[in-house]
Symmetry: C2
Subunit: 410 residues, 2 copies
Amino acid sequence: MYRFSSVYQSPKGSPIRALYKHLSEPGMISFAGGYPDPQLFDVQGLGAASERAFANSKACLEYGPTEGTSGLKEALVQLMQQRGVHTRPENLIVTTGSQQAFDLVLRVLVEKGDSVFVEQPTYSTNIQAVQAHQAQLTAVPVTAEGMDVQALAHMLESASAQGKTPKLLYTIPNFSNPSGATLSLERRMRLLQLAVQYQVVLVEDDPYGGLRFAGEAVPSLMALASQVPGAQNWVVHMSSLSKIVAPGLRVGWAVAPEEILKRCSVAKQSADVGSSPWIQGIAAEYLASGRLDTHLAHICAAYGAKCRALAQGLRQELGDAIRFHEPSGGMFVWARLTGDITAAELLTHAIARGVMFVPGAGFQADGTDDFTLRLSFASPTLEEVAQGCKRLGEAMAAARAAKNKQAQPA
Amino acid sequence: MYRFSSVYQSPKGSPIRALYKHLSEPGMISFAGGYPDPQLFDVQGLGAASERAFANSKACLEYGPTEGTSGLKEALVQLMQQRGVHTRPENLIVTTGSQQAFDLVLRVLVEKGDSVFVEQPTYSTNIQAVQAHQAQLTAVPVTAEGMDVQALAHMLESASAQGKTPKLLYTIPNFSNPSGATLSLERRMRLLQLAVQYQVVLVEDDPYGGLRFAGEAVPSLMALASQVPGAQNWVVHMSSLSKIVAPGLRVGWAVAPEEILKRCSVAKQSADVGSSPWIQGIAAEYLASGRLDTHLAHICAAYGAKCRALAQGLRQELGDAIRFHEPSGGMFVWARLTGDITAAELLTHAIARGVMFVPGAGFQADGTDDFTLRLSFASPTLEEVAQGCKRLGEAMAAARAAKNKQAQPA
């Protein structure tokens, strides 16, 4: 009856949402969501920030600038400075999570039929976001060291020869969702050179960079751009307080070259006029309180312990049946089943035994992969991690038994 | 250098933003913005709501459902019930202001080249929003009784004959921004019939309906839809707490038929994942506190007094040089200059004398009108309203003198 836009003729929600209904099953242990551990929230610090913000109730309650309140923008400029990025409030826009930052960048750059490169695997909601802009998606392979920039160089050369250079390349270089991989310094430099050579906007999504619990930090693409002539024109950096402070704030931001940022701001006017100045006030007060560094040290230690517990549990309970790289930060382990049981088959038996994860198929822009899965160690307790791995081991045994039974002649 | 999407080749911000710089000039009296009076905010009630919301800090700080938290959705369903609309949480989506609700509706319905009808004059940011979706805009004239539905009937007939029936028609039926006009009951019924006949989605934007200070309320299109066979399928209702509680919350919502709502929810996933559960918690607590009715009575009385003061001041200081209808609610007086001074000319002299308004040209989807202007009585005090009118009178005298001087031979 309705004449919907062609993008929404048959709407598909996130593949993860299909699993939501199981989350509330009694005793369910979830490795599925990409959610921070609520036990780790700095409730006291955020409560105090909320009170301080409301003490200036006028600023909370009135309209604010579309690009974000000056207080929060300045606090975020300082946070970026700590992360090795020297920027100015004029180059920063506050958004509703980094999700909105990506949506704004897509709006100003991408039109129907344009080419967009993403990593494979990549964050499922952003596959949807690119598809909603009717772009052609191309998947760049990822290895344990992050995006395969050698493969990318060939892909760009070939795309360029066909006059189909991508408008942008979307990457999650630190502790990627879902791969957990971190792009090596060498690859980052090469990626920046390629961006300049092919005039492709690199969209660097960095929600997890603050969550490193092992090894040495690698500077962001935006921090490194000053070392590659011309590269500063080609990097848009997005980040968020969702994973390091609390998702309920829905505070994200983008840092971008002025011309791009100006257009994002015009796009945000039509999109929502501006994010809540009240929430921005709370976020600014929290950042100004100086509690973030201590808080980060605390949550990184906790996530590190959980990650090691998950890795150990998987090895112990699944042995050779699973392969994965242990990440140095973030929230995710990306794993591959080595036998003939698919992730979807394992999931059915896992849910029946009270444990969940996300099959990897939903994170593929291009083709599919039935044997990968994403496990998040962030929300469950250490005991739940161990127990969850045990259940996964049992689920694998059950899946194998079911497969053998199928294979036997009647 | 950048290959921007064609919509953003030469980005144009809102025409009102061009005036922002004058807002901070000392002593400036502004009839320009569409901002509620901060002196009227229920600071005490909102502070208490904020404390109550944070008492359940877990719900504030975690991710919430994309469509909105169940607490706020239920409170909004009740508010809609008070307004004569019987709906369910499943038909309601919480958005970042009603601006985002419109953006989501545009995303799911409108593609490049589609036809969209709007009122003339209409809210400038939504002219931009429609243009950002690359739709063809058609302007339907508005009289003192709201949209000219007779003219609309002819326009729809002709569009239909050409196979270009609009995908949607955007209307602000109560105390419209900028026209101040309210659509009569008779016209509402006719509009609903036309929507059914031509299968056009009516997007009813109702941020001001709660701000009636004179006359009898007219039921919303969505409330009336049950009286017109088939019409319930064709109305999307949007509203907001910005004008009745506080803009800083950025809480808006849409009520829509299930098929449309489901797609809006998928679009919101890509757009921003979801609005802040913290702010939604505060809004839900405020609505649950039962303070809104008393608060509305208080602000309606205040806005009514300011509106009468503005009308009286304009008559007194500008006399026959200006024509307008006194609205029965909302925040805006839409006026027409009767002489040869344009609104832009008057504005130049007005700003020099410490008073501002918005020329009507920015509110025209189609063509232009140099002699109209929008004046908001919401923010200034009663004394400022009187003083502002005086300055407008002086500005008019100065504009005439300048014009006469120009016209004289050297």
